[in-house]
Symmetry: C3
Subunit: 262 residues, 3 copies
């Protein structure tokens, strides 16, 4: 795979990335997409989501502050995205914390075609059927081999699965890409997980032919920029703004030098 070539496609195609996301990190999700040179749009009214998805290049669904009505809008948007044939990313934010979150994730997975399922270890474990608990939106302990778990869910749902963590796993059940960039400070920043899903959606929208590669390329770029932000002095509070600056300026030389691949 060629990470920089994927980044070039994002900057050239400038995909419109339609989000139905949570109210906590909605700005950061929009800004991360914009910093990569793409166009974010956030729209959740059931009266317009199908129209908006129909002019978009990718759809990102994040259940961080879900309600049942919001899930109905997500379903409508996802069906429109399916009809148009654009990638749909589902961030199963907080799955394993409450029954509502589990139920709503299963509903979306059952009633629409989700292209990429993304979560932390305990969220993905819960969606794969394990009995684990998520601490709100922070990962809980998982006793299973994560690569096997991801592959099993990928096959069961015919989707690419991304488990974020110290090392991210990207798989379609057969091929695996491990993303080993990133920095520990990200665990102290609200929104890094949500932004990762938006980045995956952006790269998937720009290069939908190979979703394992485009998802992984997005994560590599995001996490290399994170390392640059930390080099530039970022703490947990100044992280995101320095990250966006670094993403905007990210170049081939930085990627070539910093990429940590399996």
């Amino acid at each position: 795979m060629n990470v920089y070539s994927c980044l070039e496609q994002v900057r050239e195609n400038q995909p419109l990335v339609h989000h139905l996301t949570n109210w906590v990190t909605i700005f950061d999700c929009a800004q991360v997409v914009k910093s990569f040179g793409a166009s974010p749009v956030m729209a959740h009214a059931i009266e317009e989501v199908a129209d908006m998805a129909s002019i978009a290049s990718a759809l990102v669904l994040n259940i961080g502050t879900l309600t049942p009505e919001f899930i109905e809008s997500m379903k409508s948007a996802a069906l429109a995205a399916n009809k148009k044939g654009i990638p749909v990313v589902l961030d199963v934010c907080g799955a394993g914390a409450t029954k509502l979150r589990d139920d709503m994730c299963f509903k979306l997975l059952d009633e629409a075609k989700i292209s990429i399922i993304k979560g932390n270890a305990s969220e993905i474990a819960r969606i794969a059927g394990e009995h684990v608990t998520t601490k709100g939106v922070d990962a809980g302990a998982v006793d299973t081999d994560l690569k096997l778990l991801a592959a099993s869910l990928a096959k069961a749902r015919d989707a690419v699965v991304v488990i974020t963590g110290k090392e991210d796993i990207v798989t379609d059940g057969n091929r695996f890409i491990m993303v080993k960039n990133g920095h520990e400070v990200m665990t102290h920043v609200v929104g890094t997980g949500c932004m990762a899903a938006s980045v995956i959606g952006t790269f998937a929208g720009a290069a939908p032919q190979n979703l394992v590669e485009s998802a992984a390329a997005g994560l590599f770029c995001f996490e290399i920029a994170a390392e640059i932000a930390v080099k530039n002095g970022a703490g947990p509070g100044t992280f995101s703004s320095k990250l966006f600056d670094a993403i905007y300026l990210l170049d081939k030389k930085q990627i070539d030098e910093m990429l940590r691949v399996n």
Copy 2:
């Protein structure tokens, strides 16, 4: 017009600026108002919007993440603002992207008195009746003379019209002020358009006698501060925080030296 005098009125009168706005940039809209020395308040429950508008000096409506219920609240707030005689700014965010957005803008314009209509080129073109498409909330191509378009809409709706872009156009259909400050980096920052509407509302609330001048003065101050932020090293991520610092410290000397007027 005297831009600095308008800024002094904002800092002295400290207008309460009531917003019904979107969930993406709601913090930035509040902080930009606060950085100018005014008081932002965000309230959208239909049970309280008329009460809140009645103690405010200006009302800012932004349809970025609208729902039909939200538009009902906007209408109620606008009618209370009309009754009190305070300026009402409508940011037609995303008009031209979906039918819902167009319909809801027309509804608000037909059923309440909007003092200032603000949007990018394709948004305003759509509201003026052109057949154009907005790329989510980013401007699409418009083939019309923008000054004519703005003037025509201003006359049709008896309102001040603001088209933001590389050069902003402010007109009531007769008088034109072109705002030529600002910086290219703003196009890579989520929320600059929304903040511009909040700034216009703040200045309109502090100096409602001449809305063309107060709207333009607000934009000049906002965009001069933006240039200062970039001089202070802002990239797309660090922009808004440095912008707020610059707004807070903005003085007469900076305005006199940096103002780029037609």
Copy 3:
């Protein structure tokens, strides 16, 4: 009281702090909790709030952008928190600005057990029964002795009361702790009041045995970090990000040297 010991308990216990809060400062509320080493979760659907509160260590309610439905969710979450015996903080944001806000605060106070009531001078005065007006969410003038007011409300509601301002008052009606740290620039930053409530919830969740002390300890840490942020060059726009960095790095030496207690 030992402020640093409370901070250590937060970092060690890493309480899950469930919020139902406003859409303006929701990110800052989450990030301030995370910067202290705790876990924020924001969830408001009535279908899940009781489940989420049941796995949490504290509940923070903030009515900044309330609706009547949202208050129903708050009530459900508060009753679950009461059942579990975890502290419930209510930020009476904007009480005294509209009838809806007053009514909803009284409803929550009457129908659930609130452990800590927090607001600025005019908000608390209104909840204590005074006829005052809040300027949106910014404090209006209050002609009463604030310590007496706080103590009277504390006794009437059997709760700890916190009035934020130049000096914060923390009281259960008998004991008073005055928090004299902080910096004037905080009055120009959107969200400092909301963040204060989240910090109080975080410390109360980690050290619920003595809510006067844990609430005060949280405010001391928050405001000492604020002073450090200003020393590090923060203006109103760069404040919050530098504040989060300072909170993350806050140590015993800084607290010992900077604490300004009565």
